[in-house]
Symmetry: C2
């Protein structure tokens, strides 16, 4: 494990911290991409691999936490070095959660028994492409300490939220049209919510990059664009024959 | 704001950190209790108050982050003092998320148009009572640095996960029996998931108490008891007449 290495200098330890986050970020990107591919191809084998790989992400978070605690204890970093360590602790927690969401998408793929409406899966792929782009950009912004890229990620999250809200409505309609859609569409609802949450965590990371560069902590609150919590869809008729 | 106070000693700053976490914890407990009461009574006014109060929790997290960063920068704490500050950063993030879940429960209460099956709401109340007990115990374990209480919380989370999995199955069945249940039961599915996640965050805090007391970082991975991601429920019949 990273933290077992014998380290010569403070800069080397900081670099190791950044390298570990870069490796964790790359793994999280791959896990998310694989989980969406497993979903679209209904590939149970790939889904199982995503589930089993999640432990590697958890281990990297543990490495980053250990390394950060050791840096704080032994090096007592100041100013920007201190912010680097604090942000590393926060970013690794966000990446770990994104990994959990990818794992959950893979798990639910197995529960999509029978036929699944294809349009929602297509929309989920579009949402995933957006959030994967956000993750890539926010990791670049972290490594390059690039404020513009970080702020771009925060803006892009609104599009993800809007897609999620309309998909939520669409999935409820499918469920009302045919009760056989209820189990698969419920899992698609949670899969879509997972992807929407990944966008939120990419945004958290972007806010921490702002703190890293500017020294100003992100505000506790952030306007959320996801309106799915207040969506109401009524069946066409009292029973559920209103199909088409 | 807490962090505006002029502080005399290091101990006073550490006490202020603990007091702020205690206040944040108390507010989070109250928000969760109110959100569940708003749900069970369908009290839109109380739900709106929970949504508006969430900002206070976000502000307290911001206070704790600022205070922790300042403590690390100016006091360069060692050993247990350092762990106190690191754990404060992590615990405040978990409490902020619990606050978000309470807010989301309140938001969805407004979308429970028409009649809602009462049994699932009753089960959600039982789940909530369990997680509110976990939050109370884990906050005590943090303040008293009591390992036994922390470990007790980790064990109790399994019961929450089991309740959630059976509730998930029950809600799918209601949706299949009557399409008019689909919108409200979908929001109940997410409300139940929120409560289940609150249990996970209480468990995270318990693991950080273990780190605080023992100095050993929690393992990245933890066995999850929530099986709802793999639940499959089939309609009684091809169409959805199979009512009652």
């Amino acid at each position: 494990m990273t933290t077992d290495h014998i380290v010569k200098s403070f800069d080397e330890e900081l670099n190791m911290l950044n390298d570990t986050i870069a490796r964790m970020g790359g793994l999280v990107e791959a896990q998310l991409a694989d989980s969406i591919q497993a979903l679209t191809r209904r590939d149970a084998e790939l889904a199982a691999r995503v589930v089993s790989q999640d432990k590697r992400i958890d281990d990297l978070e543990h490495d980053i936490d250990s390394l950060s605690v050791r840096l704080l204890a032994l090096r007592q970093p100041m100013a920007e070095d201190l912010r680097l360590v604090i942000v590393a602790l926060k970013v690794s927690a966000d990446l770990e959660r994104i990994g959990d969401y990818a794992k959950n998408v893979a798990k639910r793929t197995g529960a999509l028994a029978g036929s699944v409406p294809l349009d929602p899966v297509h929309t989920i792929r579009r949402m995933s492409a957006l959030v994967m782009g956000m993750i890539k950009t926010v990791l670049d912004s972290y490594m390059e300490q690039d404020l513009d890229k970080a702020r771009d990620v925060i803006v892009r999250d609104e599009e993800v939220d809007a897609l999620h809200t309309s998909l939520f409505r669409e999935l409820l309609t499918y469920m009302m049209e045919d009760a056989r859609n209820i189990t698969p569409c419920t899992h698609l609802l949670f899969i879509a919510k997972n992807i929407e949450r990944v966008g939120d965590h990419a945004t958290n990371i972007a806010e921490n990059v702002e703190f890293l560069v500017s020294g100003t902590l992100p505000p506790g609150d952030r306007p959320k664009g996801d309106e799915s919590s207040i969506v109401i869809v009524e069946p066409r008729t009292a029973d559920t024959e209103g199909s088409e």
